[in-house]
């Protein structure tokens, strides 16, 4: 739990990287637009989380939501 203030550019980088990795993981099952929306929504829901923990938590939450989406599709 190391401290750093969240910066917009870091946030974007976290979102972009998560989108890239999750697109590669889910592209056979879900459309890229859906993946991008889920990641960005996850990022929004995690506002207030310390910046250093953000990339991991965003990706983890988005993956959980995408898996749920995939199952219900």
């Amino acid at each position: 739990m190391t401290h750093a203030l969240a910066r917009a550019s870091d946030d974007d980088a976290a979102v972009d990287q998560a989108v890239l990795r999750l697109t590669a993981e889910f592209r056979t099952r879900l459309r890229p637009q859906v993946i991008g929306t889920v990641v960005r929504n996850s990022r929004r829901d995690l506002s207030g989380v310390p910046a250093t923990a953000l990339p991991e938590l965003v990706e983890r939450l988005a993956r959980a939501r995408l898996q749920s989406e995939d199952r219900s599709a």
Binding site: A53, L57, R60, S68
Partner: protein, 539 residues
């Protein structure tokens, strides 16, 4: 900014005894107040009440500013507490609960990786940031570097039990002094610290702007640091607004004043009682006097209802009578003595009546030297001998008497030992009473407090007829008043005294010093030397 305001506190022990009654005092913003009193007077109980650990039967404690508490057991932690947990526990309540929530959320995440659990973890982390958890971690890093020379990440999972008592104390003090709490309660912060450590503590307490209430038996530390002294005695507390140097005089004056006020109250009471009796007789003979008689009765009733002023506390129950006796001029002669593996050969002559402080590095062989002179088996080369009529008596650190642990003081006195005849129960109790131990005569030695064990050991010395006292850290567990009593007894002792001590105040009463250096050299000094560092040996 922080203060402590204690008002009308009353606390009763489980056996029904009133330990504290109507205790009131205030420690103002930025004050460094010492809390002193005899062993068992209620200092730690009072600190626990102020800390909120105990609820008083009556009265209240008010304070502003966060409260940081260093408890007495720190220094002797032997369980599996880690450095991280220890630092968390010393943090403000908000940081503690946020840390616990993060830990719980992490554990839950190991069990289930679903969305609610992830959101709970994210919330816990956000809360950790909001309450200053990240700032606390930066502080902990500074603390561990200062106390242990290691970054926080490098030692946070280390068990506290692997640290020495001094390191544990230092870690807690660094955390509290650098932390956000503005009011600190420190219960014996100097225990386990060596003299350089105590000097460091003094400097830090002098420079801090926090409000500090601390318990200590170290008179040098009290003398340097305390700007007021709160005394717990006779079940109540009073404050001396000056520092420790004028404390003893202030305490005597207070006791005299209390005794005088009490004496006047009793005289006035007696006068009123006599008047009522006289008027009762007059009223029987003259109806005119009946009204005056009733008025006087009312006056006496009001006087008694207001109650007497407090009595001065009973004089301290410790009266040590170390007698000793005349011995040969050369009490101890040492020639080319070397305790195997501990020091380089040294020589010394100690004369009848000398008061010799044995100082120096931890692990340099000081205690072994005393044990050798006491006649115990200690591997050595070289010569040593005692003079004519020299009878050694050893005061060892309390854990050095395993054979006493399951026996009572009365039993130990009854049976005697070689060189010390046994005494009957009456004489044993009389002797125990002089040492403030009458109530503990039938308690197992292991259940006595450190101060009581120490006083009992001095009593054993008294009864042994020793003419050479070999004292190993005798003031370590003694409260201030008992330590002064021991000093008085030693001053009156007709014989020779060798004492190992780290107590700078006590050391001032000695006139020669034998210093055991960290390099193995043993040398004599006219002044006390406390700068020798710990002996480093290959382990």
């Amino acid at each position: 900014m922080g203060y402590i305001d204690v008002s009308g506190i009353r606390h009763t022990l489980s056996d029904g005894r009133v330990l504290l009654s109507d205790v009131s005092f205030r420690v103002g913003d930025g004050a460094r107040a010492a809390l002193v009193g005899e062993n068992g007077a209620g200092k730690t109980t009072l600190l626990r009440i102020i800390a909120g650990d105990l609820v008083p039967e009556d009265g209240a404690v008010a304070r502003t500013g966060g409260l940081g508490v260093m408890r007495q057991f720190i220094g002797s932690v032997r369980d599996d507490t880690t450095v991280q947990r220890f630092l968390v526990d010393l943090s403000p309540p908000a940081v503690r609960s946020a840390w616990d929530a993060v830990q719980a959320a992490e554990l839950a995440l190991m069990e289930a990786d679903d969305e609610p659990t992830q959101m709970a973890y994210a919330t816990a982390l956000a809360h950790w940031g909001d309450v200053g958890g990240y700032d606390a971690e930066v502080t902990w890093d500074t603390v561990t570097v200062a106390a242990l020379g290691v970054a926080y990440d490098g030692c946070k999972y280390r068990e506290l039990s692997t640290l020495s008592g001094g390191e544990q104390k230092r870690l807690a003090l660094e955390a509290l002094l650098r932390g956000p709490d503005e009011v600190l309660l420190l219960d014996e912060p100097d225990n386990y610290l060596d003299v350089p450590g105590k000097r460091w503590l003094e400097e830090r307490l002098l420079e801090t702007r926090k409000t500090v209430l601390f318990v200590s038996h170290d008179r040098e530390l009290l003398n340097r640091v305390a700007d007021r002294v709160v005394t717990v005695e006779g079940g109540s507390a009073w404050v001396h607004g000056g520092g420790f140097p004028s404390y003893s005089e202030a305490r005597s004056s207070r006791h005299e004043r209390l005794a005088e006020v009490r004496r006047r109250w009793e005289e006035e009471h007696q006068r009123l009682v006599d008047l009522v009796r006289t008027m009762q007789q007059q009223a029987a003979n003259s109806p005119d006097m009946a009204n005056r008689y009733h008025a006087m009765q009312t006056r006496l009733a009001k006087f008694e209802a207001a109650g007497p002023p407090p009595e001065p506390p009973p004089p301290q129950q410790v009266a040590m009578r170390l007698r000793g006796g005349r011995t040969g001029v050369r009490a101890v002669t040492v020639e080319g003595l070397e305790l195997t593996g501990l020091m380089k050969p040294f020589g010394a002559e100690i004369f009848y009546g000398d008061r010799v402080g044995v100082l120096g590095a931890n692990g340099a062989g000081k205690s072994h030297f005393l044990r050798l002179l006491a006649g115990q088996h200690v591997a050595h080369t070289g010569e040593w001998r005692l003079g004519a009529r020299v009878v050694p008596g050893l005061f060892a650190q309390t854990h050095a008497h395993p054979e006493w642990l399951d026996r009572t003081p009365v039993d130990l006195l009854w049976h005697g030992e070689p060189g010390r005849p046994g005494v009957d129960r009456g004489r044993a109790m009389a002797a125990l009473r002089r040492y403030g131990l009458a109530d503990s005569g039938d308690q197992l030695f292991r259940t006595l407090s450190g101060g009581q064990q120490a006083r009992f050991q001095v009593l054993m010395l008294e009864l042994s007829g020793a003419t050479l006292l070999l004292l190993d850290e005798p003031t370590d567990n003694l409260d201030v008043l008992s330590a002064e009593s021991l000093e008085e007894a030693l001053a009156a002792f007709d014989g020779t005294v060798l004492a190992v001590t780290h107590d700078r105040w006590f050391a001032r009463s000695f006139d020669r010093f034998l210093v055991f250096g960290a390099d193995g050299r043993v040398y004599e000094s006219a002044e006390p030397v406390f700068d020798e560092t710990r002996v480093v040996r290959a382990r």
